[in-house]
Amino acid sequence: MLISRAWLQELLVDPAGDPLPDDDALSRTITSVGLEVEGVERVGSGLEAVVVGQVRSIAAHPNADRLRVVELDDGTQTLTVVCGAPNVPPPGGNVAFAPVGLTLPGGLTLEAREVRGVQSHGMICSEQELEIGPDHDGILVLPTAWSPGQRLCDRVAGIEDTIFELSITPNRPDALGHIGVARDLAIKLGRMLVVPPLAEPKIPPQPELVTVEAPQRCGQYFGYALEGAKVGPSPLWLRVRLHRLGLRPINNVVDITNLVLMEWGQPLHCFDRAKLAQGRVVIRMARPGESMTTLDETTLELREDDLVIADAEQPQALAGVMGGLHSGVLPGADTLLLEAAWFSPRPIRRTARRHQLSTDSSYRFERGVDHGPGLARAASRALGLLERLAGARCVGGHVAAGQRPPLPQIVLRPARTRSILGMDVPDALARKILAGLDVEVDASDPDRWVCQPPTHRPDLEREVDLIEEIMRIHGLDDLPAVASMPTAYGRSGPTGLREPGGRQARADQDRLIDALAAQGLHEVVCLAFAEPKVLSRMLARVPPDPNAQGQGPVAGPDRWVHLTNPMRGLGPVLRAHLLPGLLDAAALNVARHTRPIRIFEVGRVYHWGDPPSAEGPTAAIDRVLPDEPLRAGVLWVAPPGADDGTPVDGPGLAGLMLDALEHFGLEATLRPAAPDDPALAHLHPGVRAQLSVQGHEVGSVGAVHPDLVEAWDLPEDTAAFYGELRVDALPPIPPVSVEPLPRFPATSRDVSLDLAVEISASTVVAALAQSAAALPDLSSDLSSDGGHEDPVVLAPPDHGRTAIEVVEDYRGKGVEPGRRALLLRLGYRARGRSVSDAEVQARHEAIIAGALEDLRSHDAQARAR
């Protein structure tokens, strides 16, 4: 909303005649009452030197066909000016003359100069050159009644002005006009709000003018018939005023309705009555199949929910939004029908949104204009101006009433004001503020004031709204920063906020972020939007078994969460996977530099799951919401040649995932992952592993599928590895329970196993561990000194941390193709004694025998070498 300082100056009269505060101070004052000033623009500076120039003579330019040499009187002397405009008035006519030395708003400083051999002393200006209007078809011709030498700014208000751009919150429709803004400022500045004089013509009743068939949607309709209109340009002051406020002057009738709009905040509409069938209007709902063409030449298919202003036959305006193409007032119109109305706000908004039309009119109606005295005043103001500036006399009128909002009676307790604000506003001041805002206050009970808000403030509905008004005008600068509430207390217990896992998950999320960052990874935050085409790349080429839908960790298209109104350039689906966002970030880095990229994100993905069996007060809503599981994704990418000393490879990232989980507090193991597991379709089929904790799958790690490397346009032979954790699947972190330190030395034995390469090392290690666990206690046979209570067990050897360690993976000479020799080292110790070679050897052999038996179910040739 643009507000003119010059206009405010007219409305806000100071008893002592002082001018308004300077622009900065005024701007602060406006902001302080909750009407935030977002911009201040000074316009028209320098134009005080523009004067009325009277044409004395016009002669053709001797050397140019299109130019003319004008002699004009600037009030003190006669000057020669060369002018190119075709519309210089005949001698005696007045023009706007800019003398030598003046700087035009466009930045040009005028000087005396020769134009094709004729000396020109200044410039005859158009509206556009002075930036007081859009007209540049010719020079500005001024009324002949004005005397030469008069300053233009003395004849026309607002030539020099300051325009404030206000951000008006949606609760303040009254501040969408100068009078509303002035009303707030009057109290704040101690000035008097003086509204322009209102016409009070005697209007013969003419009930047939207006029929309201939709009283539930049209609360009030003032319709006036006018005759004798002379449609033409508006006077300069009106054109300047509208132009300053960003409105294009059109003709006097339209300009008047726009002026009243900017003054009272009340949208008005003028119909050419001659074009209305039967010269009357019917306010009704649109009929099925009806359409209309609006002023901007768009044809709208109307809905039965749309309110229209029709004539006896068809819609002529979309009520409260926009007029029809043919009902507008054009030059030549003689009879008019002026509309001033109050329409029910919410349906106006529905209609405006449905037809994608947001107009100055709908903007105000959907916020709620005055349905009381203000509406009548705006109508009177327009009638007066139409008669004065367009010669249109009101010959009849009718006011039709429908349902208007009830007027609330609000009880305001001064004690409540004090407790809500936490400061004391004296009662007298509070009442003065309310009175200034046109709130009627009956304070016969000093503890319970009965208040009646004005019809232009539909936002004042409850006691607290009045308290806000008092606060708003009184200001918050005096508000003490004093806490009366009890000091710190935290609450524990379930949050009930449907955070997956609740508050523990929240702490875990932060710990996991720390654990990953500690591995040298950089945290990224990716936007949660995705393209279906991109998400599809995460899925198996061959659709998995449909029965598996809803089970696997990757959601298929039928489970994606779609937006109904995506933004151009952003995906229309919420991400169901973290990898695409991380690959985008990696690709951006690869395009910018040649360093290895090690990044991670901990964030939610979104998909439809089984309706949660939520309980509690939010359950009904939670059941219709999608799942938002938390994931952690780690991506390593190194384009060829990128090297920071740490290799970017699978074992590296696999180890990192294990280390990060250990940092987090969980011991994880790697397990083989099936090449055709649909949940891991984003990974290379042969370079992948599952991560598991306490026997449960919690994530995966592997090489990024080569198709994805290609799809993201990463250079060929880029090393790319991705690890992912399902954070919600991580078990609680067990407390640290210390193992006693061994007091006796351990010993170790190696074994080399000949195995098919398909058998993963993790399978071999698991088979050995399982075999060891299944063995009967052998020590009692070998030890007579209570060894059965302290058996030899697999345990980390003195040189390492793991009881079973893969030492070497040998393929080549001596090993058949397709097989490998896996050298493993097993550690043994007893808790409270030294162990003998014989018992260790016996145990070692038994463990290997058991493991091989197990492994032969995968590989018949499995054997010890």
């Binding site: 908004r349 449905r354 604000l421 004093v482 508050r503 950089h522 109904t564 919420l574």
Partner: protein, 379 residues
């Protein structure tokens, strides 16, 4: 090294005339040629061990008269001690040499330090955590809720009435419900679902603010309530200063007798703790549907302390966010009696705060993931 000959002086006269002192010379040479402890030990065994060549001299005692034997014993001991001292001297010399050699090593550690650089925490994470720590210390719970939210919690219960222009204050992403058919371009001006044909699907939105967490909290726990809700929010806005996804933190306090002055005091305490300095707080009346009275809050610029700088664009103040007293309609929506309890709420942008703290000039940097930006926030 001194000769070992003097140690022989006493014993030589007592030895047979044909005594061959070749072993003595050999010992002297062997000691001087030994270059480490192991060689020296071998020399010691060879010459001074039980059957060593020097030790063997002792057997000559048997050939002597008894009155000479005592003198021989003393002379032999002098010889043996002397030889052992000689050996020890050589040993110490070798150790000194070895130590000197170790100390002579010169490595330039500045040449190529082997680094294992730390990773980094995103500035949003860093800022969110700092905020959470301050509020936890002030006695506030930290909670969050779903990102895809029901309109009822995102708007209706927060006093954003249906078809009210207040809803335009936050340009909203709408989400299709479970199993809804794909979009059939019947959206409204901003693509909002067509209200006249809502179908059966629930009106889901990407939450436009963290305020639905207020509603969820008030529905699930009785007052008094003190919480902050940091989290991800979404608005249909994408330009140099707006991201369609960003982060907010919201504070809520519901208790008996809570007023605007408490709000201002809390904001003041929080900002002072967060920035470690007394920073003034300024409230300006404004409008947010879920608070009444509502106010924007500004803080004194922490960089210039109000005297004006480039960060605050010379004003001395930085606009932070919105605040106000929880609207009675909101309390009623969650069955809290506004006559008994009042409360305040505030909210501001975490991303904006992070940009302010770290002087990040372009919002774009926050979400594109350039490691050269991220590694500046190493942890």
């Amino acid at each position: 090294m001194s000769s070992i000959r003097p140690y022989l002086e006493d014993i030589l006269p007592l030895l047979p005339a044909d005594f061959d002192d070749k072993a003595v010379d050999e010992f002297e040479v062997a000691v001087s040629e030994a270059t480490d402890e192991a060689q020296l030990y071998a020399v010691q065994v060879k010459f001074l061990g039980k059957k060593g060549q020097i030790t063997r001299i002792r057997k000559h005692m048997g050939t002597l008269a008894p009155d000479q034997r005592k003198a021989f014993g003393q002379a032999f001991n002098k010889l043996k001690d002397g030889f052992e001292q000689h050996l020890q001297a050589r040993r110490e010399a070798l150790e000194a040499e070895a130590r000197a050699r170790r100390l002579a090593r010169r490595d330039d550690l500045t040449t190529r330090p082997r680094r294992r650089p730390p990773g980094s925490l995103h500035p949003i994470t860093r800022t969110r955590r700092r905020l959470e720590i301050v509020f936890r210390q002030m006695g506030y719970d930290v909670v969050d809720g779903p990102h895809v939210e029901h309109e009822k919690y995102n708007f209706d219960d927060l006093n954003f009435l249906e078809d009210h222009p207040a809803r335009d204050m936050q340009d909203t992403f709408f989400a299709r419900g479970r199993g809804d058919a794909p979009a059939s371009s019947n959206g409204g001006p901003s693509g909002a679902p067509d209200e006249s044909n809502p179908g059966t699907s629930p009106p889901l939105v990407l939450r436009t603010h963290t305020s639905p967490v207020q509603i969820r909290a008030m529905l699930t726990r009785p007052p008094p309530i003190r919480l902050v809700a940091p989290g991800t929010v979404f608005r249909r806005d994408d330009d140099a200063t707006h991201s369609p996804m960003f982060h907010q933190i919201e504070g809520l306090c519901i208790d008996r007798g809570v007023g605007m002055a408490d709000l201002k005091a809390t904001l003041y305490r929080f900002l002072s703790a967060f920035f470690g300095a007394d920073l003034e707080v300024r409230l300006r009346p404004s409008y947010f549907p879920f608070v009444e009275p509502g106010a924007e809050f500004d803080m004194q610029c922490p960089f210039c302390r109000g005297s004006g700088c480039s960060v605050c664009k010379g004003s001395g103040w930085i606009e932070l966010g919105g605040s106000g007293m929880v609207h009675p309609a909101v309390l009623e929506a969650v069955q809290i009696d506004p006559e008994v309890y009042t409360g305040w709420a505030f909210g501001f942008g975490i991303d904006r705060m992070a940009m302010l703290l770290h002087r990040i000039n372009h919002l774009r940097l926050m979400f594109e993931g350039d490691i050269r930006f991220l590694e500046q926030f190493s942890c």
